[in-house]
């Protein structure tokens, strides 16, 4: 072995120990390299479990009204018939209990001489079909997109996210192999003991939610697997369309006949589909060639309440109302892929399970964050100046862990502070997040590392605590009013922001506590038996990371 040749005095480690050490090396370095991006992916991904709710909060002008799918669909079609009856395709995204508006997107017929300008998506009142005016914002969609595209040009963001996810998966597996005291230390968390506390916190957040971490990392990779590994599809199908047809059924791509014919009402089609789907309603309606003899109406089933995130669909003739085709019942591979996507997105989860997802996401961010801090704490020598790499990692840790939350708060604050009718305000909100995040990270370089931790975390607490205040001052939907009106979404949002502010404040407080002297018996402990663990064992366990 090489180790033996270069250190002739050191005996070769036993095979199990050697494996554990090499795994520890992989764990520490892959985890570190991807850690900063993974932390941001975990945090924004966790926020994305409330994507529609964030969007609703960011458009306080709109109030949700629950309207049956049939009425919303008919109202939207009424609007499209009145404005652009001769289009090639209409997409109608119906509201549900989490969205306030019907969204429609109409694609004009192709015109070879003058390609039509791409029309923006429109928001309609679900009850009346009238266009709604609300401030321009990317809403929760921004966190969701950033979570896997990282604000980089396509396809680089997705590739980088994929590489980080692979590192994460490797770190999970190597971490489990390295961690030899999984069951002995299963419930162990000791506070205020320096490196040992960070190791405990890293172990607890990783081990106790391990099923979630493994699931979310693996399903995240699988979601984009056709992009990361396109070759199986390329080898077996001439065109990507051929694969789509084989996997998900033939798309109803009938050409327009040119003969006008009136479009039937969609309500009977929705009712017919609901009978097939155990009462489920459609989430999306696609109408091709409306007001033509070849018109088709495709209904895509809502996926709430089912693990498989790939919606079934039924296509009706828009002129006779007859069912033309339906999506084939998926084979095992497609069903598995759909369930994996569903598990990752969590759209199936009702409010109760959504909060479970949210807290599991936070344990993921905690696992990555404590791992990053542990890397520094473990390598810091008490009486020596920190070397360059250590300083670099610590500064990047501050920039990622302490400054990103402030950036996210700035995105939400910008939504309230930028005038509602300013052109290009949606981009300004996004810029507010990144300027705050990176600007703060650069500014924090001016302060000593410990002060930088305290001050950036304190600033995050202030920024989140400011959100309910700014919301109350700039809208008529402040916390007290929402509580009184029973507006669960706005009240819940404000309370969640206050809770996050408290968490950031607690972290700042903990960071400002004077570090205790590293003597073994110095720190008082609630549970004496916990501190009487064998130092050699702890040492060995700590070395592994």
């Amino acid at each position: 072995m090489n180790v033996r040749q270069s250190f002739p005095d050191r005996p070769a480690p036993a095979p199990a120990r050697a494996l554990r050490q090499s795994m520890a090396w992989i764990h520490a370095w892959l985890g570190l390299l991807a850690g900063w991006i993974l932390f941001a992916m975990f945090l924004t991904g966790t926020a994305s479990y409330f994507r529609p709710e964030i969007t609703q909060w960011m458009q306080p002008e709109l109030r949700s009204a629950s309207v049956p799918a049939e009425q919303a669909a008919q109202a939207a079609i009424g609007h499209l018939q009145a404005t652009t009856p001769g289009d090639q395709q209409w997409f109608i995204y119906l509201p549900d209990d989490r969205t306030a508006v019907t969204r429609v997107f109409a694609r004009a017929k192709p015109n070879p001489e003058k390609p039509p300008a791409r029309r923006p998506e429109m928001k309609l009142d679900p009850a009346t079909g009238q266009p709604l005016e609300a401030r321009d914002t990317r809403g929760g969609e921004h966190f969701y997109r950033f979570h896997f595209q990282l604000q980089l040009p396509h396809p680089w963001g997705r590739w980088l996210a994929g590489v980080c996810a692979i590192f994460m998966l490797t770190a999970i597996i190597s971490g489990v192999i390295t961690h030899k005291r999984i069951f002995v230390d299963f419930f162990t968390l000791r506070w205020s003991k320096g490196q040992r506390s960070w190791l405990d916190a890293h172990n607890a957040s990783a081990v106790l939610a391990l099923p979630f971490h493994a699931m979310i990392t693996y399903t995240g990779l699988i979601t984009l697997v056709a992009m990361y590994m396109p070759w199986p599809v390329k080898a077996n199908f001439d065109k990507p369309d051929a694969f789509t047809t084989a996997a998900y059924g033939a798309p109803a791509e009938a050409k327009a006949s040119g003969n006008p014919a009136p479009l039937l009402p969609v309500t009977p089609m929705i009712e017919a589909a609901a009978r097939e789907w155990n009462g489920d309603r459609p989430r999306t309606i696609v109408i091709r060639n409306p007001n033509d003899a070849a018109a088709t109406v495709t209904l895509l089933r809502a996926t709430a309440g089912r693990l498989n995130a790939r919606p079934d669909s039924i296509t009706f003739s828009g002129v006779t109302g007859k069912e033309l085709s339906r999506s084939p019942s998926p084979g095992p591979a497609i069903a598995t892929a759909g369930v994996m996507l569903g598990l990752h997105l969590g759209h199936f989860a009702g409010p109760a399970l959504r909060w479970v997802y949210f807290f599991m996401g936070l344990t993921g961010a905690a696992m990555v964050g404590t791992g990053l801090v542990l890397w520094v704490v473990k390598r810091r020598k008490p009486n020596a100046a920190p070397f360059f790499g250590l300083k670099l990692v610590e500064r990047l840790n501050i920039g990622a862990i302490a400054c990103l939350p402030t950036g996210m708060a700035a995105y939400l604050l910008a939504n309230r502070l930028i005038p509602a009718d300013l052109p290009g305000r949606a981009e300004l909100e996004v810029k507010a997040m990144f300027w705050t995040w990176f600007g703060l990270a650069i500014l924090s370089l001016l302060r000593p590392a410990r002060r930088a931790w305290i001050e950036t975390l304190g600033l995050a607490a202030i920024a989140f605590a400011a959100l309910p205040v700014v919301n109350a001052l700039t809208t008529d939907r402040g916390l007290i009013g929402s509580l009184r009106a029973g507006d669960g979404l706005f009240a819940g949002f404000d309370l969640a922001m206050l809770a996050i502010a408290a968490l950031c404040g607690f972290a700042a407080l903990k960071a400002s506590a004077k570090p205790k002297p590293p003597k073994q018996k110095a720190a008082p402990s609630h549970r004496p038996s916990a501190s009487v663990s064998k130092p050699a064992k702890v040492r060995e366990n700590a070395d592994a990371l």
Binding site: L189, H526, R527
Partner: protein, 105 residues
Amino acid sequence: MPYESGLISFAAFACLALAMKKHRSGLEPLVLPSEGVLRVLGWALLALSAAVAVARLGVALGVTAWIGQMCVAAPLLVLLLSWRPKAATALAGAGLICVPFLAFL
């Protein structure tokens, strides 16, 4: 709210933790059952929390909800156990008592 499964698994993990020597101190004046009893009780409650989730939500969603709620219950228990072990134990018991009432909500 389908949180019964999470409350039961919180109690289950509390039993399993208190079945370990190093988590048994600092709980006076509470008198704990023996380690063996707590270990059996812990595993039994964990099985019960799975059964409750499956009965409530069906196999596919039930198993998902069960694992998810365990992944939240266990870190919460460990946080609380490290801070206020007595409160953690009391909360585990109180949670169990709430389960039958939650089942009707």
